[in-house]
C-alpha cells in the first residue's frame, strides 16, 4: 500500500493508496503526519497538514464510488512538502471548487476553505473522465530547515 521512491534521484516521494471510504482517511492523515515529522515540521504545521489532507480525502470520498481509491503522494523538497490527492470519481469543474462564504453558519462547505487557509499553495485540476487532482504545498518554517 505504501511506496517510497526517489524521483529523479532528487525528490523523495511517498505514495499511499487508500480505499475511498471514511474509515481509511485516518491512515492518510497519519501517514502524512509521519512524513512531516521526519521533515521537522513543527507540531502546529503537522496538525495543519493532517487536517488539509483529511479534508481533501473527505471531499474525494464524496464524489467517488466506494470501489474507487484515493492516491495520496507526498514529495519532499528542501522548502517544504507537496501533497497531491488524486481521486478517480466524477470530477467537479475546477472553477466551481471554491471556499465558502463564512457569513452564515451552516453545515458543509468548510473543507475547501480550511484547505486554502492551512496550506501555502493549493491548486485543483479536473480531468473529465479520470477524476480530480488536488496539489497543495506546505512550506517549512525558517526555524525548521
Amino acid at each position: 500500500m505504501m511506496q517510497a521512491r526517489e524521483v529523479g534521484a532528487e525528490i523523495p516521494e511517498i505514495e499511499v493508496r487508500i480505499p475511498s471510504r471514511a474509515e481509511w482517511v485516518a491512515l492518510a492523515r497519519l501517514t502524512v503526519a509521519t512524513v512531516a515529522a521526519r521533515m521537522h515540521f513543527n507540531v502546529d504545521e503537522i496538525a495543519d497538514l493532517k487536517l488539509a489532507v483529511a479534508e481533501a480525502c473527505t471531499n474525494a470520498i464524496q464524489h467517488a464510488r466506494e470501489s474507487d481509491e484515493i492516491v495520496i503522494t507526498c514529495r519532499i523538497y528542501d522548502e517544504g512538502m507537496q501533497v497531491t490527492i488524486r481521486d478517480f470519481g466524477v470530477g467537479t469543474e475546477a472553477e466551481r471548487i471554491r471556499s465558502r462564504d463564512l457569513g452564515e453558519p451552516r453545515v458543509g462547505g468548510l473543507g475547501v476553505y480550511l484547505i486554502r487557509a492551512l496550506m501555502d499553495e493549493v491548486e485543483y485540476s479536473v480531468e473529465a473522465d479520470s477524476g480530480t487532482v488536488l496539489t497543495m504545498f506546505k512550506r517549512l518554517g525558517d526555524s525548521n530547515r
Binding site: E23, W24, A54
Partner: protein, 117 residues
C-alpha cells in the same frame, strides 16, 4: 485498519442541561456517530448542551458540521450550545472558520454550564 473511534457520554447538570463528553477523534468516519448521539438527545427533548471537547484530539469540517447542525436544531426550540476546549488546534480551527463567533468556548465544564443558566 487505521480505524479511529469516539467515545461519548452524557450526564445531566442543573436539570435540563446536558453535559456531553467527547473523547477521541471526530472525522468523516466518527462524526455520523456524534451526530446520531446528539440527535437522539434532541429528539428526546434536550435543547441545552455543554459539549466537553477537552479530550477531542482531532476535529475536522465534518465534526464542525455536526456541531453547527446541532446548534441549529436546538435554537429552533430556544436552546443553546456551549463548548469546552483548551486545545490550541481546536480553537484555531474555530477561529479560522469564523465559528468562534458562533460558539462560546470555555476552559472548563463548570464555566460552560454556568453560561447556560
Amino acid at each position: 485498519m487505521a480505524r479511529v473511534d469516539i467515545n461519548m457520554q452524557v450526564r445531566s447538570a442543573n436539570g435540563s442541561i446536558a453535559v456531553v463528553s467527547l473523547d477521541g477523534e471526530i472525522d468523516v468516519y466518527t462524526s455520523p456517530k456524534v451526530k446520531d448521539f446528539i440527535g437522539k438527545l434532541i429528539d428526546k427533548g434536550t435543547y441545552t448542551f455543554a459539549i466537553d471537547m477537552q479530550n477531542v484530539r482531532y476535529i475536522d469540517s465534518t465534526g464542525l458540521g455536526v456541531l453547527i447542525g446541532g446548534l441549529k436544531r436546538v435554537r429552533e426550540h430556544g436552546g443553546a450550545v456551549t463548548l469546552v476546549s483548551t486545545n490550541p488546534q481546536t480553537r484555531k480551527i474555530f477561529d479560522i472558520t469564523g465559528l468562534i463567533k458562533v460558539f462560546d468556548i470555555y476552559d472548563s465544564v463548570d464555566e460552560a454550564v454556568d453560561a447556560l443558566k
